[in-house]
């Protein structure tokens, strides 16, 4: 009896399992058929590795973004304000109407940020009480840290004249720091960068430096791209690039005119010199 019962249960489980699999397949099939041609398409906005946007339809035939099939870059915005939040207090922009200065929060993209404030760097703990703050400004290489943030191995910012805690808060490592030692959110890096790059901050505030999308009127509703959306602060002066912006793949070149096989003529000067 016991054996039979066991067999029966096994059969029942198998049968049930099989049925559920079949049922799952049945329900999955139309969904897969509908989804297969439309995998969620994610494209990067300014530089690779910073802010990204996922393509979806806002209304029929009107996507929120069009992505380049060649490079995966955002090529066209149906909705320039998607995923944005108000910028927060910014000196010099007080005259803008409420909610007209928007930014995309950077903290969502920084995966290890929630950890930073709690695990190692909050300065409190059984053996860190009172907090053991760094004795000098010469960072000791920590393998875990270098594994998490490879950029710190070769800091290319300030030509050796600055170190980590000039920008990052000493005890609140999920924050940046201003001149008074007060924390700054990662979503407002302009308040930090403006400490040294004041001319660029002024140009950015007036819309001359950097990128803004949305309405073009001077008091219009705009999404402002913050410093770190275009520049990687840990290697802004890396070797092969120029102009402070990381190199990227260009979009395809224009069509050749009729009868032209290639564009080699462009590389030769008509008069040798």
């Amino acid at each position: 009896m016991k054996k039979i019962a066991i067999y029966a249960t096994i059969l029942a489980i198998c049968g049930g399992g099989l049925y559920s699999v079949v049922a799952a397949e049945k329900t999955a099939e139309p969904a897969a058929a509908a989804e297969a041609p439309k995998e969620p398409l994610v494209c990067f906005e300014s530089r690779k590795g910073a802010s990204e946007i996922t393509q979806r339809e806002i209304k029929p035939g009107w996507p929120n973004v069009k992505c380049s099939p060649t490079t995966g870059a955002a090529l066209w915005y149906g909705d320039p304000f998607e995923g944005t939040v108000p910028m927060g207090k910014m000196p010099g922009l007080e005259n803008l109407p409420e909610g007209h200065a928007l930014v995309k929060p950077r903290s969502e993209k920084l995966n290890i940020l929630p950890m930073c404030g709690t695990a190692c760097h909050n300065g409190v703990g059984p053996q860190f009480n009172p907090p053991t703050l760094p004795k000098d400004k010469k960072p000791i290489p920590i393998p875990t840290m270098e594994g998490l943030v490879p950029d710190v191995k070769d800091l290319q910012h300030g030509r050796g004249r600055i170190w980590c805690l000039d920008c990052h808060h000493t005890t609140k490592r999920n924050m940046l720091v201003d001149h008074f030692g007060d924390p700054i959110s990662f979503d407002q890096p302009q308040l930090l960068c403006g400490k040294c790059h004041g001319d660029k901050l002024r140009d950015w505030r007036d819309g001359i430096h950097g990128k803004r999308i949305g309405e073009f009127a001077s008091n219009g509703k705009k999404r402002w791209f913050t410093c770190t959306e275009c520049h990687n602060p840990h290697n802004v002066q890396d070797g092969v690039r120029n102009r402070g912006f990381i190199q990227l793949q260009p979009e395809p070149s224009p069509q050749l005119p009729k009868g032209m096989a290639n564009a080699d003529h462009e590389k030769v000067h008509p008069i040798p010199h």
Partner: protein, 356 residues
Amino acid sequence: MALNENPSADPAGAPASADPDKAVLKTTRRDFLKAGGMLSMSSLMGTAALMTQSGDAHAAVEWAEHFQKNYRLMTAEEKAEAKARLERRYSAEYGKQVTVDTTDAQPGVLMGYALNIRKCIGCRRCVHACVAENNQSRGKERAGEKIEWIQVLRMERGKFEAEKMNHGYPEGLGIQVGGNAYTPAGLVLEGQYHYNPEKVPEEDATYMPIACMQCEKPPCVKVCPVRTTYREPDGPVVIDYNWCIGCRMCMGACPYWARRLNVTNPVLPKEEMNPVTHYLGNRPRMRGVVEKCHWCLQRTRHGRYPACVEVCPVGARKFGNLLDPESEVSKILQRKNVFRLKAELNTFPKFFYFYD
């Protein structure tokens, strides 16, 4: 023999005979011409009625468009009719709800554009954003089927070199006129449009995007024989595509190579078509008309940035109202070093190049 038995076919009966030979004998030349005129008139009207009432939106609109005025001479009602016609036609053609905007220039706005020539990395994202927004032809098979309004010109940088310190000029011809340590900028004088490296920006290159400069004194407007291209009150130079005859005078007159002719029937896939259009802007064009940049009228008339400004990854492109001293373009004109391309031609572009 049924015809012969018909009383009306009797030659001795009514003057209007069904028999052509007999009828001609009894009608004067004037009557004949009259009848012929009436016949052709009625057939024309019949065709018109048939075409306008048929389900073929394309045919109906083509017919109506033949009697359409130049856009600048249209009354408000005629503009509304033209708008409704085009919306019907495009919606049928592209299988989605297409809107054709006819918003006029907004008062107090004079559009201006600025481009930071030092920031441009030559990634051509603006070129392709423009195509996505403005419904250009994008075929790949035949030459002339792919139309792009922005050209990005790659130019080489000049440099001074130590090893050329004592080079004479002209080289090897005897007369020493000074040193020539300089290797000129632009080994290729005309620049390169078809550059395609793996990564941009390249170390030894500068990039210069060129599109319509929206001149205040546009040479293209001066030469247009049908006056279909003109400057709008808020700045951009636009084209009423329906009145363009494709003579290409404007293409010859433009010193900035900004205008493109639809040599072939435009290739515009339904799914890629942008359904938000403006009559003078990005509505789909036909073969044989000229088109060019219009600063995305369908966007800018409603306050939005042009498509190329929004996608530039380095923020080199700036757009704003020249009459507003607080706009970013006005600030650039106040604060930065600005030049206009081919300023010596007195075209007075509203497109400014600047550098930090």
